[in-house]
Subunit: 358 residues, 4 copies
């Protein structure tokens, strides 16, 4: 109930604080007999980890994942898979000045309200470092899905007011990883990088949007009422730090549309029934229809900025805060593997629900 677990049949539980000894995840319900490529798990963690480029925080951690259980002779056994990622570069003293203050738009005040005290070092449990555990688990889900021909690709489609102009179906997503900002449209990527560097120079931060597409998803995934496929995807994405909005297919644009334009007409294509358009984003009535599942996630600007801001301390006194420490001016490039991981967890879980653990 305390919300550190996610999933039904493929269920993960994450633990660990930013400046504790380690973060980690226990995966319960992974089918037995999967061959796991641990290098692939490490690669996904590397995509998320800080220190990759000038655009992101300099905190440098190797983020080496250790397997504690559940994998024997390279194959899953059906037992819980525990993965541990030790914290290496945890400079706790960076944060001691924050013990009794509430940083604006951080979780300091709400944690204090809810729990009565908090691990204030680096945000403790509210740190985005927790998402490394999700990425590790998601990397296993990805391997499961890829073996079934299901692929998940995220990219940065907007940073500040700069956004991709090409429709997503025409983007060359193989270019995403080549760009430090993870935008597959090279000119837009360049503009985004410029913008982030300006924002960084000003000690400020900026928001953005991560788009994501799931290809190869068979029809039939999703439950029709409360646990619609896109409802679970939405919960998964809104549970990522700094995510403020989620939309599937036409999303908010649907509000302005007419039914005669928005309806996705069915047609027969070879053996398969397909839709001519995909405003539905691959989900109808909560259940996948075999088309690409396409969605977008809005991220707010990072709350930590290197400018002086007014706030209050625990006694309610007005104080001036100056951001310190190592932080990203823009979270979206590193959010891409997290979005993909959460999508993989949802799709694998719903796949198991529909098709069983075989």
């Amino acid at each position: 109930m305390a919300g550190n677990s996610f999933g039904k049949l493929f269920r993960i539980t994450t633990f660990g604080e930013s400046h504790g000894p380690a973060i980690g995840v226990v995966i319960d319900g992974c089918p037995a007999n999967l061959c796991i490529d641990l290098e692939e798990v490490q690669n996904e963690l590397n995509r998320r980890r800080p220190g990759q480029s000038a655009l992101v925080t300099k905190r440098d951690e190797s983020d080496r994942v250790q397997v504690l259980s559940g994998i024997f002779e390279n194959r899953t056994t059906g037992a819980p898979i525990a993965l541990l990622i030790p914290n290496e570069d945890a400079r706790s003293k960076d944060y001691s000045h924050l013990k009794d203050t509430f940083r604006p738009s951080h979780a300091d005040f709400t944690y204090q309200s809810k729990y009565g005290h908090r691990d204030y070092r680096g945000g403790g449990r509210s740190s985005a470092r927790e998402t490394a555990a999700r990425v590790a688990a998601g990397a296993i889900a990805k391997q499961y899905l890829q073996a079934k021909g299901i692929y998940i690709s995220g990219w940065v489609s907007q940073v500040g007011r700069i956004s991709c102009t090409t429709p997503h179906t025409e983007l060359n997503l193989s270019l995403t990883e080549a760009s430090p900002v993870r935008c597959p449209e090279p000119a837009t990527a360049a503009a985004m990088i410029n913008h982030i560097q300006e924002v960084k120079k000003a000690g400020d931060s900026v928001g953005g949007i991560v788009s994501c597409v799931v290809t190869g998803c068979p029809a039939g995934l999703g439950e029709p009422v409360f646990d619609k496929l896109h409802a679970e995807l939405g919960k998964a994405m809104l549970g990522i730090n700094a995510c403020k909005g989620f939309e599937i297919g036409s999303g908010f644009a649907a509000a302005s549309m007419l039914g005669s334009d928005h309806n996705d007409l069915f047609s027969q294509q070879g053996e398969q029934i397909v839709t001519k358009t995909n405003y539905s984003g691959g989900v109808q009535g909560g259940i996948s229809n075999g088309m690409d599942v396409y969605f977008r996630c809005a991220f707010k600007p990072v709350a930590t900025i290197l400018q002086e801001q007014e706030s209050v301390d625990a006694e309610g006194n007005t104080i001036q805060l100056q951001g310190k420490g190592r932080h990203d001016p823009c979270v979206v490039p590193r959010a891409v593997p997290i979005v993909e991981a959460m999508a993989a967890l949802v799709v694998m879980d719903y796949h198991l629900l529909q098709f069983g653990i075989k």
Copy 2:
């Protein structure tokens, strides 16, 4: 796992098809000793039920709710509360022509893919009629919350391209119910009504946006990782038929903003710590901070239109479909009580988690 239940401590399970004998809901985990005003439950159902104005479907059902269990001498007993709403005006023959066809952007194809057959009468389980059961349960949650000073108010903020211009904090929400389109800005409401009538005349449908605010929500609701308050609200809303997007606080607009603008600065107000702005939408780090919880839900245009559309039948043959039956040209006015009900379910559940069943 099959997704007909929602909530943790205050957990509802809905059942029933559009053209079966009844729909209903079982509420498990309602605290004992609550006085329930059944007329208020009925009022909420009346807000959702069809046939209220020229803007909505003419299907006319009294939607009288019956209590089967869990309430004794007007008070909840702690036992499951079962509420039944018999179906009265179920003209099944209206739908027999749809048995072997897949209506565009409906759930016909995906249900058939998932289950192998389906109750095709009026959409069966995928009918928005299922949401009446949620409204009934939500009405009980609302009574619980109101006794604690927590109020939930939804309204239509956009229909097609017509949207409210006043910031939501300045709207007079007491005007919402006076308008058949449930928009509290009278001039905008009139324009929306005109637009819906035009769309209806054209046999078409149009999308829209429902906004919602929770006032009086104490700090501390929400779980910090996967079960963030807004993640659960997002799932709740995306689980409503036709909802394609959800955003909290600044939402998608946050993507274009700078941190220096977006951060909500804390200040002391009397005994309370408040924020000067509320881009967070009342939730920080997944936990309520005591400010208004504010969010918006995008709805697509209703899939059934009274125009000829191309589709395929179960054998893959191309067919022409002509919408029949009784349908809404725009779903958002009737979606308002559903959005409110789902919000009430989430907030009550998280309130119980944080403050116990007393």
Copy 3:
């Protein structure tokens, strides 16, 4: 969390009080496309219902089950199956004298302690009438299992000090239903009937044991740690009113045994690996091994007796209580279909977990 639901993938939620309008059950997660024989469901209810013989309570209810949802053209649709059993013979006035008193070894005092008030009519929710809803759901599970060659047979193996002497593997279980006491050993059955009639004449009640065997259960059902097959069976049985003990295979007798006697040696039988003995009761390490799953449930004597007993009222005053109403002197004959139903729910649920919803 409030405990009116049972099961993971095949999940039931029961509702209803003894003297309310109806009791019922919602089944979520039943696979689609099962043909349901409603007469069979009714037959199972008839086995449980009162008024069948001179041995049991005279409360006479036809217990006619109504299907509210989830079955269309005789086949399950994958939607929740709601079953309703109206209460017919609810003489509430029989119980008004109990409003402020706590009957010994009933749930009156604990319900009052937990909830602050209670539906005192006929025990309200604590009435064994609630188990009719389980029997209805279990009847659907039985049909699912029978189609896979899995059969569940319960019988009365002890009443008071009278118990079956034949080892269960040599009993002719087809004789069970022929006996009003549901004991398949005719001479023992006759002795049990005599004993119950004597106890009844004395205004007293007596306990007993229900034994149960699941045949045709494939190897692989059960989860290895907390959700062991026999742990879930144990919970299911201990959740039946008046059940005080559960044992599987050798059970409590195992405490006195040596490993060299108790170990079930494996041998090859045709294509299958079997065990030469079955002290394990068909479960090893929490997982079925393909042998008969065999267990026993102890039931206490019914708490209502027609003798004067001392007790206290809500103010703590000493009072004398005299049982009234219509009650069974011995619960075990009617417990047999309930034990079977709960076993069917567990086995079907674990079957779905292991082999999927197909």
Copy 4:
């Protein structure tokens, strides 16, 4: 769903194999602000760990527990508490001869059937070593409960045919820990020790019974239908390796009793309503009534014996097996802290459900 988690609000997930790098547990839902005495956690682990006396296996592990998260400055933070116990004395080669064989009454065959392969080293996940993780989590629950005046005491009441003769209410439970066999009746303890040593000398093993009492448990714990307090306790105990039976209060003896003897008459004692007898075992209608909660768990003889036994290998060939490695001739002395831990987990969880997380 895969059954490595236990509990609702206070929910634990265990992981780890007997011969992997570590075992551990993640506790989600522990209230914030509890002071945790880690030495007490270690003491509980020491009670369970092997190598304590000549009666138990010689495998010698220090079983030092490490805290990875959730405790900051000695207080719980509300975040998940991850506890790790590295495996030290894991001699994997002891087990390589078992790779393709199925030991009688072990989980080898069922794991192989369920998962298709298995970590055969020391039983892998099926090893009782997994229960160390439960003991660690239970030690935290015990601290929570003790602060509320709730104490849990287990003891060995039977080994083979030797059992305690004193009624449990008259036993001096403070003597339990003084005895290597954990029986508080000194003469019986001595006889049990003799018996175990004889059994050990014969290369055999023997079963036994662990009894347990919860004192100070307030009225109102437990949910009335499927999640009755004793049903959850039963599941908890039957989920312990080698446990074959569970009974509460009168248990199986109730089957032979008359209602007029078995009913627990209420009386007023000072401010409290108590029962004169306690055949109910402190639970009525599934809910605690404020009296001692008393139950018993039957354990089979350890499956590994140092005698030659017939079995089959993975190809179905008949083989002769000879137990090797280090094993307990009788499991019940070391089962006492496990029974207590599982009881603590259940009682704490139900306490949180009833009284909230404060």
